[in-house]
């Protein structure tokens, strides 16, 4: 196993993890949209998203995708920082989840998360009545407990996303983590993330959020976003 991947074992508990094999990611965005559908996620926020970066100089150029989601950390700073215990870790499985009815919307967890994986739900949604609280990726807890893979894994065209129990030595995630050099985002934070990347470029991932397009490309979008939500 590689960096940052000391996983708790024993006790017959499951430890779910996702492997994102960037060699297989074609940047199709199916995961992002499947997730939107699964949770009726409003516009402006995402539980999973796929930033990309164009690297190299003409004609040796590549487009590099880095699918992102909550890392379901072994030591999640969001849990530590929530003043009302709205966010918590499920021992069996390792899911980091959110209890909407306890959330006071203080955004402490958002500030604490080194991965920008949490967001405030806006006031308007299509049909789900949960609004104005913090939300995040749940590793599709409601699907996994029904023996289904998360929605993003289910639809992943390139089979770039693989989900399973890291405590089961026969699982595909165990195999992939054992047999490949893997990376996690921002290991220096000591969060022990459970989303393992294969083939992620360290130059792009060192600071977690840097796999994005250049600033001048992003800026008009950012300012439109800030304008609309009055940030």
């Amino acid at each position: 196993m590689s960096e940052g991947s000391k996983v708790s074992t024993g006790g017959g508990k499951r430890r779910y993890a996702m492997v994102v094999d960037t060699r297989r990611c074609i940047g199709c965005m199916a995961c992002q949209v499947a997730c939107k559908a699964e949770y009726d996620t409003p516009l402006g926020v995402n539980r999973t998203w796929v930033p990309y970066k164009v690297v190299g100089k003409y004609p040796n150029v590549k487009k590099q995708f880095l699918p992102r989601l909550c890392n379901h950390c072994e030591d999640p700073p969001c849990v530590r920082n929530c003043p009302v215990e709205a966010t918590f870790r499920v021992e069996d499985g390792g899911f980091v989840l959110q209890r909407y009815e306890r959330c006071i919307g203080c955004r402490s967890c958002m500030a604490a998360c080194p991965y920008n994986a949490r967001f405030m739900l806006p006031s308007h949604r299509t049909y789900t009545p949960i609004t104005n609280v913090v939300d995040k990726c749940t590793f599709c807890f409601h699907r996994v407990t029904q023996n289904l893979v998360p929605a993003c894994v289910q639809t992943c065209i390139g089979r770039s996303r693989v989900f399973g129990d890291l405590n089961d030595p026969n699982s595909e995630v165990s195999y992939l983590v054992a047999k490949n050099a893997t990376q996690v985002l921002r290991p220096e934070e000591g969060t022990k993330p459970h989303v393992f990347y294969i083939g992620a470029d360290r130059n792009a991932t060192e600071f977690g959020r840097d796999a994005y397009q250049k600033r001048e490309v992003m800026e008009p979008e950012r300012s439109a976003f800030k304008n609309h939500f009055k940030i």
Partner: protein, 879 residues
Amino acid sequence: MEMPKVTRRTFLKVSAGSGAAAAAAPRLLTAMENDLGGKDFGPVSGAERKAIPVNCHVCNIQDGAIAYVENDRVVKLEGNPEHVSTRGRLCAKGNSGMWYSYDPDRILYPLKRVGARGEGKWKRITWDEALAELTEKLDAALKEDPNTIMLKYGRNRTGGSIDRFMKTLGSATVVNHTSVCESSKKIGMEPTWGPDIETPDFANAKYVLNFGSNVLEASYFHNPLSQRVTEGRVDNQMKIVTFDVRLSNTAGFSDEWIPVFPATDGAVALAIGHVILREDLQDSDFINNWTNVTVAELKEHYKQYTPEWAAKISGVPVATIERIAREFATTKPATLFTYRGPAKHLYGSYNEKACMMLPIMTGNVEKKGGYCLPRGMGWPQPMPEPGKPAHDSVLAHPPEYPLAAHKVSHLVPFWIAEGRQKINVYFTYQDNPVYTNPGSMAVWGKLFKDEKLIPYLVSMSPFMGEETALADLILPDCPYLERWEPESMPNSLWPWLGIRQPVHKSLGESRENRVLLRDIIHNLDPDGKRGMKQFWDFKDGEDYMRHHFDNVPGLKEAGGLDFLKKHGVWPIYGKLDPKTGKVSDKTGREIKADYGLYLKELSAADMAGATVDGKGIISKNGKAIGVRREGKNCVGFPTGNRLINVRVDQWADYGFNPMPTFKRIPWHEAMKEDELILSTFKLNVHKQSRTAAVKWLAEIAHSNPAWMNPETAAKLGVKTGDLVRVESAVGHLVTKAYVTEGIHPKVVSIPTGFGHWEYGRLATLKLKDKKGEYSHGADDPDLNNVWWDDKGVHPNNIIPVVADPIGGSQGWYDTVVKVTKAGPNDKYGDSEGNWEKHVAAYKETMRYAYTGDLHRKMHPEMAAWAGPDSVKHKAGGGH
């Protein structure tokens, strides 16, 4: 619904709001891997959702899908795990298909125009009123000439009902959209080996040459083939080399991206062939046995296409061409894929042919990991069937383009304007040429605003697209999730039949197309005296499907339509293995495809009464049915002589080069130093015109700045975000620049799918200015969250028509433009095309037709051709 209330004790139950789900689950799973779909549960309710198998139809890849319904609303779509091609996965577009149904601006009632055309003033009328008015117009048109009733469709997956409708009316004026799509690819391939497309066996290939296809974002067959590309690339260590003018996601994923000068792929392919033949790396047995040329003939013919020649034209270095040629020829199995890159040019058919020659000459055809024939399935039509119309239509089969069997639809407005055919009633179905075609508003908008040329325009559409906005009568059709339709697509190496079925009652008063067409016919012929009603004798969409599917051998025994209603697809080849994501048989092993279809042996019954000639061609009743090779009676290829026709003799009849060849675009040769070529493309999350109103896709991509290389941008003094003016011979536009390393310095590239001026409030970003007016559909509160303020600029006004004289294809990537930094009077979003200049472009392109004056000049090698008057048998065309 209320927020779940919880105490600390029931902590797990409510996590992620999935109280019931957790409660219902006895314990966390014990299985080794979780299932890859087939079931779905609400994250808040925890309830299992109703699953209805359908066939996706956001675009035309035709993935098998499952619609999950909660509270009578489709909340989730996923790939059908029983579908052999789709294997449980959908792309971003497929995942958001329910927004076709729930578009708040969907048209749910018949509408009649009350203002001037295109003014946007509508009156809601009843179906009875709509049909009565239409019947009157059709009656009058039928009295004059049935061919004055025209129907143009864009995406027609009705499985025959559109053709049945027009044949019932007795009109041959049926025009499609294929010439703006991939027609010259089809025409490059069909005379050569039969079918119009290939199925590359990416999963098992070791080497792939990709000429101008962006299969990882769009093109046939995005999702199923992308799955196999990643498998081949990562699990099978295949190498993939992409030739493209732009760094598409496919090019970016490839081991090598080799930028080419636009329209020169064909020259590179010929030069690769030259090296293969020069170095004797070809598969001589395959060429000699299965094509209509010999190795010696081919070697002689390819001598002219040197890498030095191609390098000069394409910019691809000689050493690269030679290296790729050797790699391709010596790595087995190898395959090749093309899409619009080579085909959408003045001589696109030649380019496609040059590309497909490479797997042919290396014997990779129908091999495991090679270049395979498409596998499809058909279905019977309800009986009785209407006969062929009495007279052909010049718009459907223009005599200047006898080889363009998929028609030349983008030249139709000019022909109508010239009075070549009178139109009384114009039907449009899933088409939007005012947006999608070259000339766009300047050409098609002009045509439809002219009430003399188009006296009555009827749109069968659920959406107020750019064309529908110019209609006189709108009949609210249903989006794909509310329709019955038969389906089959060769999107993997396993053939299948599938259906679309309504997931719920059609919304408002919308009617699915085949029912709508039936109602028109029944209104026109209420007592059956006109002989029309007999062809439309079915109760509803489901009844129509029974006529298609209840008697298909094999499916019939499995349960016919009832089987398809339950599973969505037939046959089911195996089970989706959660460990591999592949389809496994009962033994747990991955299912295997059939290869070598052309080597299948004819039965004794087939051979009874057949004769074999000196070349081994087996004929029966005057028709070639197979080829005898090494003592075996093989079925061969689905062509006239059952061989691969490297030499297409029919082309020579019209003065075209029957052998693999390349023609440079004459106006590219004459380009000035400061001119660029404009190309267009599709992004991963959009179709050409129908997805701008799909919120999840629009959020990901909503604007389309013009890509340009830093070297180009530096010359213009432009950086990302700056306004640029792009000017062609027919118009100009003003858009933003996106400076990127991922594009050829002589190319400026603008994606399509953006810059709508109709198509509802989301596509046009008029959510705040207008309330929904045509629809009683529910507003979507989430649209309050639309945060982007840039809808992009559509490029088609400034793209002139170009028609491939062979395949009829639009030359989308042939436009020469001048790009400058925007001036003080230029405004973002300016877009203007000039009708007279478009007409001039149309006249110019007709000069390349076999009847035109430039045809001979372009074909000095065909000097012996006796000219257009020598053509005795004019090909009928029409597939």
